[in-house]
């Protein structure tokens, strides 16, 4: 029993970070119907920013979100304006976005590989190797702080979406794009902001990833597979869904890793993906899409 609780705690602290990574992906999908295959590549890019900010300038990786988030926000807006705004409304725009994000992922990976080589990296602030004890249980301090910060950021995102004017516009666009246009929402501009916001969340995720995991440029393929499984389980485009999907699968994969061996842990995500697509394709919190 003790061991089960311990594993559960590991899963929980992993879940917050997964949720942060998935939230940007699901936001971008919700507003623009773009499945951003490059999301994880940008997370890795941000991890490099955080890593070098730490090794060169000794910026704490958690505090590096103040660098990675704004940088990725503006890169996101630029990417949207340069590429996505141009193919919007053209025939086959849907298929084109898939190709485009795939290409972006490859380009980002190539650039990272060129400048930073394929050596495995990881920032190691003091808390990365410390533990926090709760009675008989313990948590990795880094995981714990990262999860708290992640949940804090997601809460901020929620407050922004729920109460701010652009937040209203983003939610309106997610729920009914044509109605949003009718009430005067500049859907083009809101899409650009939402894309920037999604990328800012990727930036924050990169800061966490930089000290929680080792990373290298091509690793984003592993991450995007996991992230897609999370948001498909939760229901694509649903923020609450991304949160639920992240915690469920983080805990499930940790349990599988513990009881069946770490080799089996990654398969949890894909098994869950298969089951969800078979049983409830719209995900836990998603809406059925009418054909």
């Amino acid at each position: 029993m003790n061991q089960f609780v311990q594993v559960l705690l590991f899963g929980l602290t992993l879940g917050g970070v997964y949720a942060l990574m998935a939230s940007g992906l699901t936001l971008v999908f919700g507003v623009m119907r773009i499945v951003n295959i490059a999301h994880a590549a940008f997370i890795i890019a941000a991890a490099y920013i955080a890593f070098y900010a730490f090794t060169i300038f000794h910026v704490d990786p958690m505090l590096s979100i103040f660098i990675t988030m704004p940088v990725m926000f503006f890169i996101g807006m630029a990417v949207y304006w340069l590429f996505f705004a141009r193919i919007k409304g053209t025939t086959r725009a849907g298929e084109l976005t898939v190709l485009l994000t795939f290409a972006l992922a490859l380009i980002v990976e190539g650039i990272l590989g060129y400048f930073f080589t394929n050596i495995y990296r990881s920032a190691n602030p003091s808390y990365a190797t410390q533990a926090i004890h709760f009675g008989p249980y313990f948590l990795s301090a880094g995981q714990f702080y990262a999860t708290l910060l992640s949940i804090g950021l997601i809460a901020l995102l929620w407050v922004f979406l729920k109460f701010s004017r652009p937040g209203y516009a983003i939610r309106a666009t997610m729920q009914n794009t044509s109605a949003a246009q009718v009430v005067g929402v500049n859907v083009e501009r809101i899409s650009m902001i939402a894309f920037g916001l999604g990328m800012a969340l990727a930036g924050a995720s990169g800061s966490m990833l930089s000290f929680l995991f080792t990373f290298y440029p091509a690793q984003h393929w592993e991450w995007i597979a996991i992230l897609l499984a999370l948001i498909v389980l939760g229901g694509m485009g649903s923020l609450g869904g991304a949160l639920a999907g992240a915690f469920i699968l983080a805990i499930a994969s940790t349990l599988v890793g513990h009881y069946f061996g770490p080799t089996w842990s990654p398969i949890t995500f894909f098994l869950a993906l298969f089951i969800v697509l078979l049983v409830r394709p719209q995900g836990l919190f998603g809406k059925k899409v009418e054909a």
Partner: protein, 247 residues
């Protein structure tokens, strides 16, 4: 004086053919217009063009002498033209109140917005009762009222309604038409697109028959209602006669 002047307008979607193909209509202040015509005649396209969701390829749309052709929807809303699209296009996971707040999205200043929302809630007591409910939980008629209420938050001079009675039970549809009378009494200019052409014309001052993207006939609503040719072609006269005989 003409409030909205539509002159020889050509509009289409993407690179597709012209849906409106040289259409001209003059809308005068304070009147109610009913636009009828077969499916694909361009009725909805006309409304979408006036409110800036589509832009004319040729011709011009002017409002009080100002050309609207290139303006965005929010700029047109600001000038006093509101649009209630087909299918009660609401924000399903927002509450009634939040939907109304979205109606005033282009307004700055929270207080003014809340005042206007209260005005609308007074007009539609049922919405006041349900203000905290999600829009998707409302009945069809209530959703339509919310869609109209959302457009009224801006206190428009012109309100355009695209098939407001679509898919509603006759009794509920009647209450929507009663509300249109109310809008007229408030001094608004109403442009109504109605599948139920006979009913729509009964509530209108002026009728326009669109066909293949042009304004085929227009005239006082009564004249259109009683014109045998139009009855034959667009109002389903034979069907009605048959129904009356069997009744």
């Amino acid at each position: 004086m003409a409030l909205i002047e539509i002159e020889n307008v050509q509009v289409g979607y993407g690179s597709g053919p012209n849906i409106l193909d040289g259409l001209s209509i003059t809308i005068e202040s304070g009147k109610t217009y009913c636009i009828i015509g077969p499916n694909g005649a361009g009725k909805s396209t006309l409304l979408r063009t006036i409110c800036g969701l589509l832009h004319p390829r040729q011709g011009s749309v002017t409002f009080k002498g100002e050309v609207l052709n290139k303006l965005r929807t929010d700029e047109i809303l600001r000038r006093g033209i509101s649009f209630v699209p087909q299918d009660r296009s609401l924000f399903p996971d927002m509450t009634v109140k939040e939907n109304l707040r979205m109606g005033g999205y282009i307004l700055r200043g929270r207080k003014a917005l809340e005042e206007r929302i209260d005005e609308v809630l007074v007009m539609f007591p049922i919405l006041k009762e349900r203000h905290a409910q999600h829009a998707k939980t409302l009945s069809g008629g209530q959703q339509q009222m919310l869609a109209i209420g959302r457009a009224l938050v801006l206190r428009p001079e012109v309100i355009m309604l695209d098939e407001p009675s679509l898919g509603l039970a006759p009794k509920i549809a009647q209450s929507i038409f009663d509300n249109i009378v109310l809008l007229k009494e408030y001094g608004m200019t109403v442009i109504l697109v109605e599948q139920n052409a006979r009913k729509g014309l009964e509530y209108a001052d002026w009728g326009c028959v669109l066909d293949l993207g042009v304004n085929r006939f227009e005239g006082p609503a009564e004249t259109i209602l009683n014109d045998p040719r139009i009855q034959e072609l667009y109002l389903g006269k034979q069907n009605r006669d048959r129904r009356e005989k069997t009744a």
